[in-house]
Structures are given as structure tokens and as C-alpha cells.
């Protein structure tokens, strides 16, 4: 009877999660959706506390209070520019929690009171398989997410890191992981009678998957991070679902499946945004110093760029009818989103039609630019997705590119030899004037030169994006 109530509570929670995610399909309903999901979680937790015969309430409440306090603190203190690494860290915590729950379930069979209150049945092979799987996915998610965290917060170099024999090592640890999991499953019939070999195998699976997680993320370069973050997001869901199989708990399976699906979809969108397969991203090494440059037919020889100044750009902008702003990772690095908004406001006040064009893989995580611009109070209806705005560039007077590069490189359309050939881009080269705000002539992440720098209607405004924008704002004000 009690079990029925709990299951109904879990069902309510699952329905609230689905409605919560549905809320996220529009910015107008998104906040309420998130609150619905949180309510669902609260219901699931309370129901569990009421039914699970809580033997040690102090530890439970202590754990909830401690975890809640840390979570609240982290979420309050993070700056919006620190969002990519926080999301990565939370993914990691999710994976770790799943691995720990599965391990605890295994240890439960070794409890001292096996004979007393709860008769523990011998473990089935399928339970052991799910435990192994849950520890495996959870550990990879955990260590992989923290490498991603390190890269995103620049504690580790954002460049792809690799060394000789790395792929062999990765393969080796993958074999150890799978072997350990198989060994655990074979020991299931004797467990918990003969427990030591299984526990050693569990340890081997855990350690090998932790190392595997590191080896898998380390060779992936900074601009591929949107794919990695999305993929780890999906792993954290899969890990939760696997734990649900371990505990035979529908709430975990449903929620894990929802999150897993969400991560897979985002990963797909990110891969399409770069026109690369998931495998290609995971193998990594893209964008190193030797990356691809030689093959392209494009050469910078005999071509020159035209530099411009803030006052010239200000004049161009104020007399424009239509301006499209294209932000990229450079805007995030310079933390220039507030200046961007100020400039946009000034231009709008002067009657200029201002829009923002956001490439799906701009920045370091899915939706990175949108969050930064929202923080700076740019209304979301000024932000346009690539497919919605690409037709508008030929009627645009000025495209203002702030810290983006590869996502506007026309070579992706016509230069079959270019490493980014086939990648969908924003067609800024169709607009009458193109202003690039860049720190230097350094090529973008893909390591290739952008032919647009040398275009007849392109002007380069060199300098830190924030400084350039500040200068631009005062010039526009003065005019």
C-alpha cells in the first residue's frame, strides 16, 4: 500500500519534469517550467523520506543541508561568464552521485544485519551488470566533466592535449573497464558469499573509468567544448537512468532518460553546427598549431587588410539603416556584453534597425552567447538563430563581428579544401560593410585564415573588444 503512494508520488514528479521541460520551449514560460521541475523534485524527495524507513535521520538531514548549502552558494556566486564551467561541474557531480549510489547498493549486500530485518536476496547477474554500468558511466562523467571544468575555467590549457601512445592508453583503459565489468557480472552468482574479487573488480572499473574520462576529454580543444558539455550532460542522465535500473526505481529511469535524450539532442545540434561527426570531435586534435592550414587553396599572399578606427565605424553605424551584430567567444573573453548592449541601445535610439545573429556553436557551451546577452539586458527577441537571419544579410548595411571568426568564414561555403568546408555559417559577407572587432590577426580556432579579413568591404577594428566598444560608444554618442 505504502509502495503505491510512493510510486504515485514518483509519477507526479516525472509528469512535472516533463511539463517543466516543455516550459523551456519558450522564454516566456521557461522560468515557470524550471520551478515546476523543482517542485517535482521536492515531491520525489519528500515521498522517499516518508516511505524509506529512514534509520539515520541525522545523517540524512545533515547530508541534505550540507549539499543544499554548497549548491545554493555555488549557484549564487557564479558570474554569468563562469556559467560554462559551472554547468560542467554540476554534470560531474551528477555522475559522481550515480556511481556512489550504485557502489553503496553493492556494499549493502555486505551489511552486518543480513539475517535481520530485510532478507537480502542473492544478487542477480542483471543487477550486477547494471551496477557495473552505473559506476562506469558515472565515473567517466565525473572525471570528464572536471577536465572540461578545468579547460573552461582555464585552469588547464584549452588547447588539445595529446601525447604519443595516448590512443593506445585510452584503448587499454577501455578494455580494463569493460573487462572489470564483465568480471563483476561473472562473480554475481557467488556474491555476497565470495565478495572480495567482485569488490576488487569494482575498484578496477571505477579507477579505469575515471582515467578514461580524463583521457577522453583532454585531447578536445576549446571551441569543441559545446559538444563535450552537451555530451557529458547526456552521460549524467544516462548514469542516473542506469542507477534507476540498479535500484529498480522508475523515477530515476524516467528522469535519467529525459536528461539523456536532452543531452543527445544538444550534442547533435552542436555537431551539425560544426558539420563534424561526433566521432571526429571525440578523436580530437582539431585546431592545433598544425591544424589543416596547408590544404586550403586560400593564401594570404599579396592581400592586405584594411584597418579602421572607432570614429569611422561610429559614422558608418549611425548612418546605417540596418546593423547585425555577430557575437562570438571573443565577446565572452573580453566580458564585453554590457558594452555591446549599450551600443545596440544607442543605435536603436537613433532609429537603426539592430539585430543579433547567433551561431549555434558560438562560445563554449550551447546557448552561451544568449545567456551573456540576457545578462546584459538584451531582449531575447532581438536575438536571431542562424537560419532565421541568414536571408537578411544582403539587405544589411553593417555586420559588426565581435570576437567571432570561423562561424563567418565564407570558405566554409566554397573552398572544398578548407577544414571547415561544409560548416553552416552566418553569411555576413553578403552585407554592404563588414566590421571585424579582433584583438589581432590571429586565425580562429580552426587554425585557418579567414578570407573575409581581406574582403573589399571589410574593415578591421583591432583591439580588446571592450575597449573598442567603449570608444565606439562615446563616438556614437558624440555624433
Amino acid at each position: 500500500m505504502m509502495k503505491n503512494y510512493i510510486d504515485i508520488a514518483y509519477l507526479v514528479a516525472a509528469v512535472l519534469f516533463i511539463y517543466g521541460l516543455k516550459g523551456l520551449t519558450s522564454p516566456a514560460t521557461a522560468r515557470r517550467g524550471n520551478q515546476l521541475a523543482a517542485l517535482g523534485m521536492l515531491i520525489a524527495v519528500i515521498a522517499t523520506l516518508l516511505i524509506a524507513k529512514v534509520l539515520t535521520p541525522i545523517e540524512m538531514i545533515g547530508g541534505l543541508v550540507l549539499g543544499g548549502a554548497i549548491g545554493a552558494l555555488l549557484s549564487k556566486r557564479v558570474a554569468m561568464t563562469g556559467m560554462p564551467e559551472l554547468v560542467a561541474a554540476f554534470n560531474g557531480f551528477g555522475g559522481l552521485a550515480s556511481a556512489l549510489v550504485a557502489s553503496a547498493e553493492l556494499y549493502r549486500y555486505l551489511g552486518p544485519d543480513q539475517a535481520s530485518t530485510l532478507a537480502i536476496e542473492p544478487m542477480s547477474i542483471s543487477s550486477m551488470v547494471t551496477i557495473a554500468l552505473s559506476v562506469l558511466i558515472g565515473s567517466i562523467t565525473f572525471s570528464g566533466s572536471f577536465v572540461a571544468f578545468g579547460k573552461l575555467s582555464e585552469r588547464i590549457s584549452g588547447n588539445p592535449i595529446s601525447f604519443p601512445g595516448m590512443r593506445f592508453l585510452t584503448l587499454l583503459f577501455a578494455v580494463v573497464t569493460v573487462g572489470g565489468a564483465v568480471y563483476m557480472s561473472m562473480g554475481a552468482s557467488e556474491f555476497p558469499g565470495i565478495s572480495v574479487p567482485v569488490l576488487y573488480a569494482l575498484g578496477a572499473v571505477a579507477v579505469a573509468s575515471l582515467i578514461l574520462g580524463i583521457l577522453l576529454v583532454v585531447p578536445i580543444g576549446g571551441a569543441d567544448m559545446p559538444v563535450v558539455v552537451a555530451l557529458l550532460n547526456s552521460y549524467s542522465g544516462m548514469a542516473a537512468a542506469a542507477t534507476g535500473f540498479v535500484l529498480d526505481n522508475t523515477a530515476l529511469i524516467v528522469s535519467g532518460a529525459l536528461v539523456g535524450a536532452s543531452g543527445v539532442i544538444l550534442t547533435n545540434i552542436m555537431c551539425e553546427g560544426m558539420n563534424r561527426s561526433l566521432l571526429n570531435v571525440l578523436i580530437g586534435g582539431f585546431g592545433g598549431d598544425s591544424g589543416g592550414a596547408g590544404a586550403s587553396t586560400f593564401s594570404t599572399e599579396g592581400k592586405s587588410v584594411t584597418a579602421t578606427s572607432a570614429d569611422d565605424v561610429a559614422i558608418l553605424l549611425t548612418y546605417a539603416e540596418k546593423v547585425i551584430i555577430v557575437p562570438g567567444y571573443g565577446m565572452a573573453v573580453a566580458q564585453a556584453q554590457h558594452q555591446v548592449r549599450e551600443l545596440a541601445d544607442l543605435l536603436i535610439e537613433k532609429g537603426v534597425d539592430v539585430k543579433f545573429a547567433i551561431h549555434p556553436v558560438a562560445g563554449r557551451m550551447p546557448g552561451h552567447m544568449n545567456v551573456l546577452l540576457a545578462e546584459a539586458n538584451v531582449p531575447y527577441d532581438l536575438l536571431y538563430e542562424m537560419d532565421d537571419i541568414n536571408g537578411e544579410f544582403d539587405s544589411t548595411d553593417v555586420s559588426l563581428i565581435i570576437g567571432a571568426n570561423d562561424v563567418v568564414n565564407p570558405a566554409a561555403r566554397h573552398d572544398t579544401a578548407s577544414p571547415i568546408y561544409g560548416m553552416p555559417i552566418l553569411n555576413v559577407d553578403y552585407s554592404r560593410n563588414v566590421i571585424f572587432m579582433k584583438r589581432s590577426m590571429r586565425p580562429g580556432y580552426s587554425g585557418i585564415d579567414n578570407e573575409l579579413f581581406f574582403g573589399d568591404n571589410t574593415r578591421m577594428l583591432f583591439g580588446d573588444a571592450k575597449d573598442s566598444l567603449t570608444a565606439l560608444i562615446s563616438e556614437v554618442k558624440a555624433s
Binding site: P27, G33, A37, T56, G62, F93
Partner: protein, 95 residues
């Protein structure tokens, strides 16, 4: 086991259906929000930590509980913080 697989597959399909309609502008809140949902392991942590088991099982469970709670509370709160920043353009007459 089979029942669980059925539930998993159906839930994945629902998830895919709903999430494919999320606009690009909300991709970050989608990730942090769905990540908070994956903190549902909090329920698993409560169950394993609360059940009859050994000392090891209990403390591993409590560790899992702390980590999962960070995920749930932090995830939902930071998503809320982000979402409250997403605003529509003001109507001209309000200006």
C-alpha cells in the same frame, strides 16, 4: 527488467519530442535545468543510505546524498537565476 527497459525507451522518446522544440536561446538553461533533474539520484541516495546495510553502504550513500543535493539545489537555483534575466523587448509606449 523488461518493464524498466520499456519505461526507459518511452521516456527517452518523450524527452526527445519535447526537447527538440527548445529554442537555441534557451540551450544553456536547458542543460543546467535538465542536469538538476538528473540529480534525481538524490532519491537513490536517500534509499541506499536509509536502508539496512553496512556502515560502508551507509556512508557511501550519505556522500552520494551530499553530491546529489549540490546538483539538485544548485542546478535549479542557477537555472532560475539565468531564466529571470531573459526579457522581452519593452513595448515602445513604456519607454
Amino acid at each position: 527488467m523488461l518493464e524498466n527497459i520499456i519505461v526507459f525507451v518511452l521516456a527517452s522518446l518523450i524527452g526527445a519530442e519535447v526537447i527538440s522544440k527548445v529554442p537555441q536561446t534557451l540551450h544553456t538553461p536547458l542543460m543546467s535545468g535538465s542536469n538538476a533533474i538528473s540529480g534525481i539520484t538524490i532519491v537513490g541516495a536517500l534509499l541506499v543510505a536509509g536502508m539496512v546495510g553496512g556502515v560502508a553502504a551507509k556512508w557511501i550513500g550519505v556522500a552520494a546524498l551530499v553530491v546529489a543535493t549540490i546538483n539538485v539545489v544548485g542546478g535549479f537555483m542557477v537555472t532560475d537565476r539565468m531564466l529571470q534575466m531573459f526579457k522581452k523587448r519593452k513595448a515602445p509606449e513604456q519607454k
